[in-house]
């Protein structure tokens, strides 16, 4: 099952800079730098970011999981993390997320379900690119969410800036009193929890 990217409408479209008219380009040389890792699902040293080149970043979480069950506090039903990355200042280029792959494991009896979400936005912006997958029980296996942003819907960094991008992931077990379930963003394999691909173009 494939997730689908939805583009949430910006609140003040008229005031936003016009999207740069440009053509796709190979990414410049260099690496992203990690500005911040924060959230209920990525406390101290449970997250690894693998900076490959400017077209791809992998993130692995070992503690991003949500569960519901007897004695489990309500706050454990959802777990989230936001990773903030800054591209090197390269004049004349911009980029945006155009592909995301999440994977993990879920154990869901009949009558329960879980949801995994990937959202991204540039620092300050109300424009969110969002993909979601709902996993209904009965399910006890590795799951994934693969989403491709339509070419016309990529949210680009404003040209002439090097504004960081925020990459948020969250998983949740859909609440139902008495239900039991678990979902994680750790598949237990050597593969990363989240893989992002970035499109580049000249401004």
């Amino acid at each position: 099952m494939r997730g689908r990217f939805l583009l949430l409408a910006p609140v003040l479209a008229g005031a936003l800079a016009a999207p740069p008219a440009a053509t796709a380009a190979e990414p410049p040389d260099g690496q992203f730098s990690v500005q911040s890792i924060n959230g209920s699902g990525c406390r101290a040293a449970t997250t690894q970011v693998r900076l490959r080149d400017l077209s791809r970043v992998d993130v692995s979480f070992t503690a991003l999981q949500a569960q519901q069950g007897r004695g489990v506090p309500a706050s454990s039903r959802r777990s989230a993390c936001t990773v903030s990355l800054r591209a090197p200042a390269v004049r004349g280029y911009t980029f945006g997320v155009d592909n995301v792959l999440l994977r993990g494991r879920a154990t869901l009896p009949a009558g329960t379900s879980a949801t995994a979400t990937a959202s991204s936005w540039f620092v300050g912006s109300p424009r969110t690119v969002h993909a979601e997958r709902e996993i209904p029980g009965v399910f006890d296996a590795i799951w994934d969410l693969r989403a491709v942003v339509r070419p016309g819907s990529v949210s680009w960094m404003p040209c002439g800036t090097n504004t960081p991008v925020n990459l948020r992931v969250d998983v949740r077990v859909d609440a139902r009193p008495g239900g039991v379930g678990r979902i994680s963003l750790d598949a237990g394999t050597n593969e990363p929890s989240a893989s992002y691909r970035f499109a580049w173009k000249r401004c």
Binding site: N38, A74, G124, N166
Partner: protein, 218 residues
């Protein structure tokens, strides 16, 4: 779904301020000149509140200081199911320095809140936001209500003009602005034994400089 009553009212105030200022004689010469140098900037000075205790909030800034993100790891309000009453409201105030460009101009801050709601049937949640410039009278509040049964991520954006800044266009340095948010949850009477909650993941703010109105030099 998300009201922006106060933002609209504030915009009207901003326009009044422009008219009044440009009609004021003697203080400065109103004329058509080149746009002011630079643009508004916005930067986080500090955060405080029970929704963002030390070590739980992180700040990411845009390189040109026209935007920032604050992320939270422990900003949750919850109620019902035996949760302590003290947890039904969580709040965080972001103290911001607004840098004012030289000359006379106009700016808008746009602030976006992103989070999650998990409300049982009959439970309600609330996002309250408030903006005020330190030492000034004008404040404003925006309230948004959420109603259970609901389990989803949410997002809300406020647009706040910066009219006060126009009264001090020649003031050196930054103008302190507070951005306060709070989440409040009421478990309600249908499912008082079920814990309902609201969480804030991130607050983003950006400032836009507008040059297409009258301005004057200091």
């Amino acid at each position: 779904m998300l009201g922006r009553r106060w933002g609209t009212a504030f915009a009207a105030f901003g326009i009044l301020a422009v008219l009044f200022t440009t009609a004021e004689p003697g203080a400065a010469t109103v004329r058509s000149i080149d746009p002011p140098n630079g643009q508004f900037t916005i930067d986080v000075h500090s955060v405080h509140g029970n929704g963002c205790p030390p070590g739980t909030a992180k700040v990411v800034r845009a390189g040109d200081r026209t935007a920032f993100t604050v992320t939270y790891s422990n900003y949750t309000a919850q109620n019902g199911g035996g949760i302590a009453i003290s947890q039904r409201r969580a709040a965080c105030t972001i103290a911001v320095d607004v840098g004012v460009p030289h000359g006379f101009t106009f700016g808008i801050t746009r602030t976006t809140f992103r989070g999650f709601a998990d409300l049982a049937e009959g439970a309600t949640g609330r996002l309250d936001t408030q903006y005020w410039f330190v030492g000034m009278d004008v404040t404003g509040k925006i309230r948004r209500d959420f109603t259970g049964e609901l389990q989803d991520n949410w997002q809300a954006t406020d647009e706040v003009p910066l009219p006060e800044v126009m009264w001090m266009p020649c003031r050196p340095g930054g103008v302190p602005l507070n951005i306060e948010s709070s989440l409040t949850v009421n478990a309600g009477r249908i499912n008082p034994g079920t814990t309902s909650l609201m969480t804030m993941d991130a607050t983003d703010s950006e400032v836009t400089t507008i040059y297409n109105i009258a301005w004057r030099e200091c």
